[in-house]
Symmetry: D2
Subunit: 326 residues, 4 copies
Amino acid sequence: MKERYLSHPTKPIELFEGINCSELLERLESCSFQGRQLALAAKVWTNALDEDLTVWMGLAGAMVPAGMRKVIVQLMENRLVDVIVSTGANLYHDFFETVGYYHYLGSDMVDDRELREERIDRIYDTFADEDVFFAVDREIREWAMKTIEDRPYTTREFLRLLGEEAGRRSKGEKGILSTAAELDIPVYCPAIGDSSIGIALAEADRRLIFDMVGDVEETARMAAEKETMVIYVGGGTPKNFIQQTEVTNIVNNRKVSGHKYAVQFVVDPPHWGGLSGCTFEEAISWGKIATDAKMVTVLSDATIALPIVSAAVLTRRKGRKRPGKD
Amino acid sequence: MKERYLSHPTKPIELFEGINCSELLERLESCSFQGRQLALAAKVWTNALDEDLTVWMGLAGAMVPAGMRKVIVQLMENRLVDVIVSTGANLYHDFFETVGYYHYLGSDMVDDRELREERIDRIYDTFADEDVFFAVDREIREWAMKTIEDRPYTTREFLRLLGEEAGRRSKGEKGILSTAAELDIPVYCPAIGDSSIGIALAEADRRLIFDMVGDVEETARMAAEKETMVIYVGGGTPKNFIQQTEVTNIVNNRKVSGHKYAVQFVVDPPHWGGLSGCTFEEAISWGKIATDAKMVTVLSDATIALPIVSAAVLTRRKGRKRPGKD
Amino acid sequence: MKERYLSHPTKPIELFEGINCSELLERLESCSFQGRQLALAAKVWTNALDEDLTVWMGLAGAMVPAGMRKVIVQLMENRLVDVIVSTGANLYHDFFETVGYYHYLGSDMVDDRELREERIDRIYDTFADEDVFFAVDREIREWAMKTIEDRPYTTREFLRLLGEEAGRRSKGEKGILSTAAELDIPVYCPAIGDSSIGIALAEADRRLIFDMVGDVEETARMAAEKETMVIYVGGGTPKNFIQQTEVTNIVNNRKVSGHKYAVQFVVDPPHWGGLSGCTFEEAISWGKIATDAKMVTVLSDATIALPIVSAAVLTRRKGRKRPGKD
Amino acid sequence: MKERYLSHPTKPIELFEGINCSELLERLESCSFQGRQLALAAKVWTNALDEDLTVWMGLAGAMVPAGMRKVIVQLMENRLVDVIVSTGANLYHDFFETVGYYHYLGSDMVDDRELREERIDRIYDTFADEDVFFAVDREIREWAMKTIEDRPYTTREFLRLLGEEAGRRSKGEKGILSTAAELDIPVYCPAIGDSSIGIALAEADRRLIFDMVGDVEETARMAAEKETMVIYVGGGTPKNFIQQTEVTNIVNNRKVSGHKYAVQFVVDPPHWGGLSGCTFEEAISWGKIATDAKMVTVLSDATIALPIVSAAVLTRRKGRKRPGKD
């Protein structure tokens, strides 16, 4: 009996000069705690790509101001993700950077009252020029006024057009929205009003109407069509929105069995009871995750976990075609 | 010089038999760490009520399934909060409980595959009957089809009607939405599609359209009209949505100076860089919080912090009128 | 089958003016998340006192500078705890306050370089005068030189004498060590060198020798004599030291079955793999906790959890005798 | 003025196939949040090695059962660390693995009552055979009885001998203690009784006496001799013990100016007020850290942060001599 539990010894990790991210994670598979989870995340993601399924990525937290924009672009370009659901902030900042503006290295040990006077906005240890934000707000408003027609748009439709605009204005800089537009990758934003995009559109000459329920329907239908892998970078609305596609399908009597592969890089532990930190086990009870899903939770800041795991998956998959893609 | 720093000795808390929540928090003011913060939250909230301002409460996390519904109702009834911004989930579960359904005491140490078979949905340590959820989804869909007209609704308009319906169907049970409808307290839900309300409305005979930008405009205007206190129960979209009212006003050249009082009960620390855990200091750089605001952050599960602080504020304010209210 | 899981509806908490801590926790028992855990901690502690067992309390974190000294004194005076295992820091600060010195209300938003110049030491949001610390270091050193004999002392023996000294020097202020000495409550400190007590004794004229293994043996024997409840305020060495009493007994073929009741107020989640945050479930695998133990983990800052739970237990138990005590 | 804050744009990280850990961290230096901190940790550590100073490493948490033993051995072999202060558990498990026993890959989703029956001890997601633990306890006891003389030993002296024994018994497996003995690297354990080493020595035929104050003195003197870098893997007693060397020196009027370089990989945030999570800024107020120290805090599980940062430092420093070493 004892052997059942004691069958695989851990193998303490050994480093070598120039060890790459993929090699490091391979070795961490035989270690413990979140190091092992990080390694398993890369493994599950890599292996899932051998199957013909759709990879959904949820993006919460200030990932773009934190410098994760190009990693996500690379994931899209290499067909490692197929659908994106994001907070509005990430997409606003993505547009902002793609069209040529910058975030700046800052510090959290600073006098915010002085920043206020200088009109510098702080995102933890990162700064931005408020005046540029406001100029971009106005640009988005003006662009929307002349581009968006007088009918409800799903956020996917709206963001596709915004991505095309970003691409047009970009001087070589690649962004999430512009790349998504180029590669026909759908991007959703379930709380688009709750962001600088919402702010930009407020008090415009004409009211823009988003078809939120349309987003719900469309994503649910897409999730019913093909098996799914989900990758959550943070929790928030993106995680919940992708999770609920399966519930919507169950309510509407569509035959689904829950997401088949699931990886999350989160910082919330489950014991606060919120959706952001909830386990994939809990999600099984709802039918959101398949009962036999391969699932990995990594408790880590995504600015650590995402680049390393992406580097490993990119290294392992480079040049290989995905079934049903390309 | 030294005296400048060493002027107020801590006073170790001493208990007594039957000590009430207000008395306990009073004593904790002279202690340290999060205990002190909890005490200061009650103090700042209580004192702010002497001024003629609007108290905005953001509600994230599964607060209603966790048993916080009536506390929030009591806060509304006693005019301790004036506006509510919530996740869709809390409002769905509020409707669900108000019309007579139950959540159940459960456990997080359970076989979720077995729960799946039984169609029981788990929220950390709390259970609910999925079949009842689905029945309520259908009820909301049918109610909406016959009640909601064919025009965009702000979430406030929609939730007012849903609150009235909850009140009609309630057999004595008070809810957030029904009480808000009765007392004319506005309720907003910036990611309404991202919840069981969104699920309920998907695949209906007729598409319901929400006027998300209308919510943004309306809340910003309201925040410009009268000074504000903000209370965040968790982070998420509700916190961001209330915070951004001030930014919207700045962009649109309305004279605002940031929220004047600010209390938050959060579990996210600032070092992950996300909005949910960000400090009020950071918010000052954006103009969201006044440079001279009284502000308190309590790092604690809201199911601990909210009832205790609410009990203290209720005890201290009971029977007293608020300037400009009642 | 479904009924097995859905038997006890949650009961949303309702407050009233002047609600006391015991009443609040009673109501939180029917809610969820950490609020429920807090309530169960008070319940399990209260009920355990009906049995003839020894209550061990582990004290980690800067609980005394944080103002928790008198709560712990009250717990000892009311026979709600019987044995204490603490970090050295808490005991040093306890001595310091008992003999008449102060900690001061401070802030974590301060220039630490300025504090350094002023010789003010910061403990998060609490200040103390370094010169007074150094004076007390010298006092302890001198006291030890003339009091402690030239033989190994268990920390219990040493701390008993230090407690008596604190009592002698106190002008009415009660402390953990002085009260323990008075009431014959044993106090252990497994890392006594790792604190200002250790600093005070370094470079003395004579080397003081602690009998660390004696502490291990003595506590293990005590834990074998009578059934045990454990209460951990924070993790660290105190938690591990109390937990290992059962392992020591198993190794030495003493018949023990693990601690029978277990409550912990911790801030570390289990997923980092450390002992501080580990679950009581994990401890069952080691035999540290009884397989049928009543056990409650509360994820909360102890400066919130300890006073509230203590207030409830004090209120519920006041005046009642414990079996085998008094 | 604005330019003062907005001088260095972030540079979103871009990956490439086979990117190694050092290259990844280089790119993360221009990103934000904990990813940037991780990168800066590697940078500060690498650069500090150009100076003639002593690198102290504190080791808390179950790092050895988690598979970090060889990383630490490699750090010692490559002269990237010079002194080690550890919990007893890590050193016990190091001895255990070095002499040929194993930890096993396990899971935290397991029935601990079943493990109890099988006498399998769980460390989060890692298992070990309790019977082997007990055999090793007996071996250590017997070894100590015949090796350790009847006088107080500092933990350094004791652990040196235990390391030699581990080396003798090892069949090619390298451990922390055996490597330290071989390379003459001092290892301290301020809470040695609070671990399986303490358990092993309890109830022996002869009482072993540790000279804890000797450890305090010796480490303080060593820290006064040469400038210091400190690296904390977790908090706990090792962090506090290394931090207090400077305080001991100040109390004893030795001229020290605080640790000059400081890196910590911790999971505790500062707001709980404990030493484990406290900032290096706070440590400046005590004189533990130099006012002009280069210091980096990384909030991350050490099983993620330690291997990656070590890989980068190893890669960057390989083959280079350290001033004053070798």
